[in-house]
C-alpha cells in the first residue's frame, strides 16, 4: 500500500494504521507535541492505533519545533 507521508511516497503493509505511519515518519509516538492529519483531518491520538490507512491517502505527521 502506497501513501504520501510528509510529502514522500512510502510503502506500508496492507492494514497499516496511523500509528504505523507515525513510526515510519520517525516520530516518537509516545511523546507530547506530535500530531497527525490524514487527508487534512486531524486524527486524535487515542484513535491512531485503530485508524487504518488506505492507499493514496496523504498523511502529515508534525511535531513541536522552535517558533516565534
Amino acid at each position: 500500500m502506497t501513501i504520501e507521508l510528509n510529502g514522500r511516497t512510502v510503502e506500508l503493509s496492507p492494514g497499516a494504521t496511523v500509528a504505523d505511519a507515525v513510526i515510519e515518519a520517525g516520530a516518537d509516538g509516545d511523546s507530547r507535541g506530535v500530531a497527525v492529519a490524514v487527508d487534512g483531518q486531524v486524527i486524535r491520538r487515542v484513535d491512531w492505533g485503530k485508524t487504518k490507512l488506505r492507499s493514496d491517502q496523504s498523511v502529515e505527521v508534525v511535531r513541536a519545533v522552535q517558533g516565534g
Binding site: 510529502g7 511523546s31 497527525v36 513541536a64
Partner: protein, 279 residues
C-alpha cells in the same frame, strides 16, 4: 531585623508590587492570571541551550512554539526544554497563508499540545509577513466557534483590532513593525488608539528590536509584549532576555506611575523665590 534581600524586596513592593511579584493586578490573559507580561518566542536561537538560558533570564511564563513535519534527523526537543522549565507552550500558526490552513494547524496544535490556546498568524505575503486581515478574521471566527482561545497577531489597525475583539478573541496582538525587522513601534499612535478602545488585553507582537521598544509598548498601555528575534538573534541572548524583562517591568511601572506631559518650553523644578542677589 530583615535581611538586605528582604528589605530590597519590600522596597520594590512599596514602589510597585508588580515589580516584585510580576504584577499587582495580575496579567489576565485567556482567563488565567500570569506573573510575567513578557511572552517569548522560541524561534531563531542558535541552540537549545542558548534558548533555555534566555527563557530563564526572561522570566517569561508563556513561550511560543510552532508545528512542522517530523524531521527524523532532528536532535533534541524544544518542547522537552519548555516542559522541563515548567513554561506554558503557546502554539502558533506561523507559515499559514489562508484561514483554512490556519484552522487546520490550530486543530493539529490542539492535539499535539493538549491546549485550545492558539497564537493565530495568517500571513499575507512572505516579504512583509504582514497579516492578511480578511483571512485572519475568518480564521479567528472559525476557531472561536470551535472553542479555541484565540490570540491573533494583527496589523496595527484599530478597526481590525476591534473586529477581532468583537469576534471573541482573548487578546489582540498588533505588530509594532514587520516580524524580525527590529524596527520598533512605527505607529505608536495607532497602538495607543487600539489600547484605548480594547476591552481585551493588548500584546505588542513583532518588531521589537531593543528594550526601549518593549518599554515604549508598555508605556503606551499595552498589557504585554511578545518578542522573539530581538532576544534569539542578539549577540548574547541571555543578557538581552534579562534586559527585555527589566524593560517590560519598567515600562509597566512607568505607565502606572503616570508620566509628565510633554511641553514645548522649559519648566524649572527649582523655585525662583529666594534667589540671592549676587549684585
Amino acid at each position: 531585623m530583615p535581611s538586605k534581600v528582604d528589605s530590597e524586596a519590600s522596597a520594590a513592593e512599596r514602589v510597585d508590587p508588580g515589580i516584585s511579584r510580576g504584577d499587582v493586578d495580575g496579567f489576565q490573559l485567556g482567563g488565567r492570571i500570569w506573573g510575567s507580561r513578557l511572552i517569548v518566542g522560541t524561534g531563531g536561537f542558535r541552540s537549545l541551550e542558548a534558548m533555555e538560558r534566555a527563557l530563564v533570564a526572561s522570566g517569561a511564563e508563556i513561550v511560543t512554539v510552532a508545528l512542522r513535519r517530523v524531521d527524523p534527523l532532528a536532535r533534541g526537543s524544544a518542547l522537552e526544554v519548555i516542559d522541563g522549565l515548567g513554561l506554558f507552550a503557546l502554539p502558533n500558526t506561523a507559515g499559514c497563508y489562508t484561514a483554512r490552513d490556519a484552522v487546520r494547524t490550530a486543530q493539529l496544535a490542539r492535539e499535539a499540545f493538549e491546549t485550545d490556546w492558539i497564537k493565530l498568524e495568517v500571513i499575507g505575503d512572505d516579504r512583509t509577513l504582514f497579516p492578511d486581515a480578511v483571512e485572519l478574521l475568518d480564521a479567528a471566527q472559525q476557531l472561536i466557534d470551535e472553542g479555541f482561545t484565540v490570540l491573533p497577531y494583527t496589523n496595527d489597525d484599530p478597526i481590525l483590532a476591534r473586529r477581532l475583539q468583537d469576534a471573541g478573541c482573548a487578546a489582540v496582538m498588533p505588530l509594532g513593525s514587520p516580524i524580525g525587522s527590529g524596527m520598533g513601534i512605527r505607529n505608536p499612535y495607532n497602538i495607543q488608539i487600539i489600547v484605548e478602545s480594547a476591552s481585551v488585553p493588548v500584546v505588542l507582537d513583532a518588531g521589537i528590536g531593543t528594550p526601549s521598544d518593549a518599554a515604549l509598548a508598555m508605556e503606551l498601555g499595552c498589557n504585554g509584549v511578545l518578542l522573539s528575534s530581538s532576544v534569539a538573534r542578539a549577540k548574547d541572548p541571555e543578557r538581552m532576555a534579562r534586559a527585555m524583562r527589566q524593560a517590560v517591568e519598567a515600562g509597566y511601572a512607568a505607565r502606572r506611575a503616570g508620566r509628565i506631559p510633554r511641553k514645548l518650553h522649559a519648566e524649572g523644578s527649582t523655585p525662583d523665590q529666594g534667589l540671592p542677589d549676587l549684585g
